[in-house]
């Protein structure tokens, strides 16, 4: 009797808990293991896009079962479930299955990207802008270019919406000095090409351009094919990670000279004024070659 009573009470509570508890969410992941960290119980996976969760990218994941971290090896192809805890504050991999071990030892696991150094030339990477037109990263010769990375669904006010708001302020200020304005260009690149199609980018851009489409002449909103985005991320050493059920990325702003060389990176702290000053300075500075020539003619 006593044990039945306890059983009954437990059952009632179990049912209440089951009725009130909202389940965690699960997403299917497929990809290749690039690295593992036994101490942190993590594996880094280069994964395909996870519908409803995030685009294809490489990032570290916590693993529920430490034994699995022992078992998998870099190069392995895996299928797994990403479990996002209720509330979205935590996530991890469960039910990891190794689907192919053939990559072990034979697959050269790529080293983490090394960003282009200051002074290096930007690569030719094709992007697709808000009009569906192909533009090239090295197509802004003669203009100082300020480049940043976003995705339009990014909800964190201190991340993408802030970057775009700051770019909007810079754009408005530049427009007041037409001489300098003409020698500058802004470029906002989304790394969520599946959602951020040309029409979505156009709508996003217009919201930051006071609905004036003529602003696109000086400010492109672009995305690219996944392979090109990967090249872009590698070129600028972007690190993607994931936080609170959102795509997060190392924030980066890159200033590129009219000679198409990297001038400066900002990754943690900056002000709108600082960015604008640097862009103006670069746009109006005589190129070193011009200066050398001028010096030589004396």
């Amino acid at each position: 009797m006593g044990s039945r009573k306890i059983f009954g009470v437990c059952l009632v509570f179990a049912c209440i808990i089951a009725a009130c508890k909202h389940g965690s969410r699960r997403y299917q992941l497929r990809g290749q293991v690039l690295d593992k960290n036994l101490a942190k119980n993590e594996i880094t996976v280069d994964h395909e896009s996870i519908p409803g969760f995030m685009p294809a990218m490489t990032m570290p994941y916590k693993v529920k079962d430490p034994a699995v971290v022992q078992e998998v090896e870099p190069g392995d192809k895996i299928a797994a479930e990403v479990v996002v805890a209720e509330g979205g504050n935590d996530n991890w991999l469960e039910n990891i299955r190794i689907t192919a071990k053939s990559g072990r030892n034979t697959t050269k696991v790529p080293a983490p990207p090394k960003a282009l150094a200051v002074g290096e030339r930007v690569p030719n990477i094709s992007l697709i802008n808000q009009d569906g037109k192909t533009i090239h990263l090295d197509g802004f010769k003669g203009k100082a270019l300020l480049l940043t990375f976003i995705y339009t669904r990014c909800p964190m006010p201190n991340f993408c919406p802030r970057l775009s708001s700051q770019f909007a302020k810079i754009h408005e200020d530049l427009a007041k000095t037409p001489g300098t304005y003409a020698k500058t260009h802004l470029l906002t690149v989304s790394f969520d090409p599946k959602y951020d199609t040309a029409p979505v980018l156009r709508r996003y851009g217009l919201a930051y351009l006071n609905n004036d489409a003529s602003g696109f002449a000086q400010w492109d909103f672009a995305s690219a094919a996944p392979a090109d985005l990967r090249k872009l991320a590698d070129a600028f050493g972007l690190v993607y990670f994931e936080q609170d059920n959102q795509i997060a990325h190392s924030m980066d702003i890159v200033l590129i000279s009219p000679q198409e060389k990297i001038v400066k990176y900002w990754a943690t702290e900056w002000t709108t004024a600082e960015l604008e000053d640097a862009l103006r300075t670069e746009a109006t500075a005589k190129s070193t070659r011009q200066m050398a020539r001028a010096g030589g003619m004396k």
Partner: protein, 115 residues
């Protein structure tokens, strides 16, 4: 033996009664509780904050449905707010793919109670 059986039956009846009693309150509370959580995670950082470094300050959402219209001038209806959350509006991001239909319904439910 018989007494034990009766006790067993009693416990099952108690269990069913308890569940029937608790269930509706529990699921109602669940919807707005869930809506509150979703709001804190997805909306509060913009709509409850001030002095954000943003082009447009997000409007306060208290009493949203008591107003004649939404801040944008669109009708203050559930359908319109649902659409706003899914598609975004102006500089507000879209939540497509991140919130389920059920999430959006829970959020709308919660916004009705936000006064």
């Amino acid at each position: 033996m018989r007494r034990v059986h009766l006790c067993f039956l009693w416990w099952w009846l108690a269990l069913i009664a308890a569940l029937l009693d608790i269930w509706p309150a529990c699921s109602d509370q669940h919807a707005s509780q869930r809506g509150h959580e979703l709001f804190q995670q997805n909306c509060a950082m913009c709509h409850e904050a001030s002095n954000l470094d943003l082009k447009k300050q997000p409007p306060k959402l208290e009493g949203l449905f008591q107003r004649k219209a939404l801040p944008s001038g669109a009708p203050a209806t559930d359908a319109q707010v649902r659409k706003t959350i899914i598609n975004g509006i102006g500089t507000m991001p879209s939540f497509q793919g991140r919130l389920s239909d059920e999430d959006v319904n829970n959020l709308v439910e919660y916004l009705h109670q936000l006064n």
